[in-house]
Amino acid sequence: MGWIGETVDSIKSIKIRQLLTQAITLGMIVTSALIIWKALMCVTGTESPVVVVLSGSMEPGFKRGDILFLHMTKEPIRAGEIVVFNVDGRDIPIVHRAIKVHERENTGHVDVLTKGDNNDVDDIGLYADGQFWLHRHHIMGRAVGFLPYVGWVTIIMSEKPIIKYILIGALGLLVITSKD
């Protein structure tokens, strides 16, 4: 009877060890993804080094679902640059082009007016009430590169959260049932 108990115990202990290894592997994957993301933030100088284009206001150059790579330097903002900015009170960043720039002597303070390439009017209507210009602190980065279509995954996941849960559930299932 003793060795039955022993076998049962050894089977139980294998399962626990395997489970722990898998949990640690998962943790390592998540952590390294986070490290890469934070490193990207450092290198590019902006809080969101990659953004997804959500509207058609910059067509035909950027379509909904494209992703943009951002970079931010201390260089002053100049006309023609495609900037990503946040308006006070709105949490979705907007990607448009700077069409007017007025830079102050000495302080380097800058007034910027933006407009989407595909829009008929400039962005004054998008700014907060009484605001006529964007300033440096509104601007999160300049677009320096782009990849088409890749952003659709993010759009689908945020507009239909069900898909997000299904994906995470499936991934979790895969991790648990895999033998490695």
Partner: protein
């Protein structure tokens, strides 16, 4: 090692890596193209030049713009965004850039053009510094690729000036 799951995973990883590699190469190839765009801009007329009710000068002018941007197009180019900006200095501002006209050029055939147009966007100063002001007209272009790095450059044409009096 031969289940459907493993096979699908391997295929997916490989194709994503291959796609990423191709996009990177396409973008890199843009660095090797020879580019020599040219342009010429004439101011045909100053239509209106006044001081607005809240103290800022405003100018309306008609421009004659000739440009040849064909050499900017490579096989990885989706479109070229070109715009003409007036650039000048005032006592308060070390730099003012005001876009007067822009266009999206979708392909090489449209990249060589001549148009006469009045300014698309209002040329308004911050203040009333524009009388007799000398300014540059700069043609900027932004090349937007099919994938990868975007790049931009410009041609600066100095020597334009506004009249000494409002009209």
């Amino acid at each position: 090692m031969h289940s459907f799951g493993y096979g699908a995973n391997a295929l997916f990883t490989f194709s994503v890596t291959a796609l990423a590699f191709i996009c990177a190469i396409a973008s890199l190839s843009d660095n090797f193209s020879n580019q020599n765009p040219s342009t010429e801009i004439q101011i045909l007329n100053i239509n209106r030049f006044k001081k607005q009710s809240y103290e800022n000068d405003e100018v309306s002018l008609t421009l004659d713009i000739t440009a040849d941007l064909q050499s900017l197009f490579t096989w990885n180019t989706k479109q070229v965004f070109a715009f003409v900006a007036a650039e000048y200095e005032t006592p308060k501002n070390s730099l003012n850039q005001v876009s007067l006209w822009d266009a999206i050029i979708p392909d090489k055939e449209h990249a060589k053009f001549r148009i006469q147009t009045s300014n698309k966007y209002r040329f308004i100063d911050q203040g009333h510094n524009l009388r007799g002001k000398e300014f540059n007209l700069t043609l900027h272009w932004h090349v937007m690729p099919k994938t990868g790095k975007m790049f931009a450059d410009k041609i600066v044409m100095p020597g334009y000036s506004l009249p000494d009096a409002y009209k």
